[in-house]
Amino acid sequence: MIRLIVGRLLFMVPAALLIITFLFALFHLIPGDPAVMLAGDNAPRSVVDGIREAYGFDQPLHIQYGRYMAKVLQGDLGISNYTRDPVVNSVIPRIINTAQLAFLSMLFAMVVSLLLGCVSAMYWNRPLDKIVTIVSLLGICTPVFVTGLLAIYFFSIYLDWLPISGMSSWRHFILPVITLGAFQAAVLTRMVRSCMVDALGKDYITTARAKGAPELLVVFKHALRNALLPIVTLFGLGLGHTLGGSVVTETIFNWPGLGRLMVNSILTRDLPITQGSIFFFAMIFILVNLIVDLVYAWVDPRIRYD
């Protein structure tokens, strides 16, 4: 187990280096002169030349690469073209906002999908299972922006119960969290159901029933505890998707998160911010993966006790 943790932590190093390399390449593969890009289209020649020298764009590529790598490793992701603030300063608060949204959404999706998936598997092929199946398929088929707009129309405009945009109180969280979580809940319900149906068909379930265990114990202890192994992985993937999907939700609900920052930076061609956002998105994905692996190992005694 310790070996596994150390191994996974060490694996983060090459992954991070690869991401930095990708970001560097991104900067230089985009058509156009990076100095012009930083200075703005209408800047005078002298300014452009000044920037080129200041940023070292006149140096050979491998030297630029080395410098960039060194800077990023020291936590320096550059300076925003517009605010002139260090990228890190504008990205960090955004990460926290996005993380709040994504984790709450995922929590919602996990609770809903575990409940509905288990019930569905328990009543496999019976009316209750079919109702859950239809509802979750509907959820999967509905794009997030449609759910979001419908939710805004119904709860904010028609009923006037909940605020539409911003994040100044807990009531602001409800619609974005449900909008982002509903889709994941639908997807995960299907998967939890199939993992549970699978587990309920295993021999050890017959053993549990043969002991005289009541059905609730059979389902929620014996089957669920085993189904949790694939489910943990699926939840990890779901969290990844939720982080990625937050871009749309943040845009709809005017949520000051990392996704919206990234989209805006692309629109305004604020490349350092784009790079910084991608870098942190990627690092979060790696971290989520690491956590999933560790939870998986912890849940499975065949890994934990080897």
Binding site: D203, Y204, T207, A210, K211, G212, E215, R225, P301
Partner: protein, 333 residues
Amino acid sequence: MGAAEPLIEVKDLKVHFHTEDGVARAVDGVDFAIAPERTLGVVGESGCGKSVTARAVMGLIDAPGRIVQGEILLRRQSQVVDISKLDPRGREIRGIRGNEIAMIFQEPMTSLNPVFKIGDQIVEAILLHDRIGRREARERAVDLLAAVGIPLPRQRFEQFPHQLSGGMRQRAMIAMAMSCNPRLLIADEPTTALDVTIQAQVMDLMNALRRDFNTAIMFITHDLGVIAGMADDVVVMYLGRIVESAPVREIFHHPKHPYTRGLMGSIPSLADWGARRLTAIEGVVPSPFAERQGCGFAPRCPHAMEICRTRDPGLEDVAPGHAAACFLHRAAP
């Protein structure tokens, strides 16, 4: 069979599976009884309905299967329960399962839950039926592990199934099954999945349990040879029915049914332990979906006569305590 009142009595049991391919008549009219402390051997090739019969006795038949006819009578001191009429998820059958009737299965590798400790799985079985403290249940579980011949029971208690060999896992399953002192133990091919040497050890253990716990046993196997040293009585199943039933000595010394004789022929001698499953019976078990006409064994029977294809022989006595379903053993057909 035994002189005492039977502990369990199965009467004209029919279990059908309603599948997309049609109705599988997995158990198609079976009668047998087991007296207290006696061992009944149930023999037959794979697919003849042995496991389904056992599950029916446990009340474990689930959709698409259904008990369509018959009774499964469990006799208690003052009353008789018909297991076939109980709700398979209900409280009453749960009080019987694992308590009055326990079962061990063919696959020790998959029958234990991989994510729980061996000991905790036994403790769970105890606490489901006995109102005792957890500590006491742990002590009993450790004692049981020792009783089934697991070395270092305290350490084994803390281990997970994947840390035990197949033979050890089957012993743990047996410990779990014996944890509430069942009156009937159903062993569904408990040695089939094990190596030959381990098989012999587990058989020795089963025999020892038979002596020490005074439990009645329903011992299922596809291998007549395994039955010889174990059972008091034997029923031979074919296509969901019993084709011969007799005390064990009678079966081995005077087998009547051609199918039973065929099974005798496939008992491996010491010389060919390696090449088991040599079958002396031509052909395969027909599909249980097929409509029955005449004797079910007729297509494979070397003695089949005209009458066998049109009339059902039915199980009839050929000697005291010995019945066979075959026209060869009728006075005048």
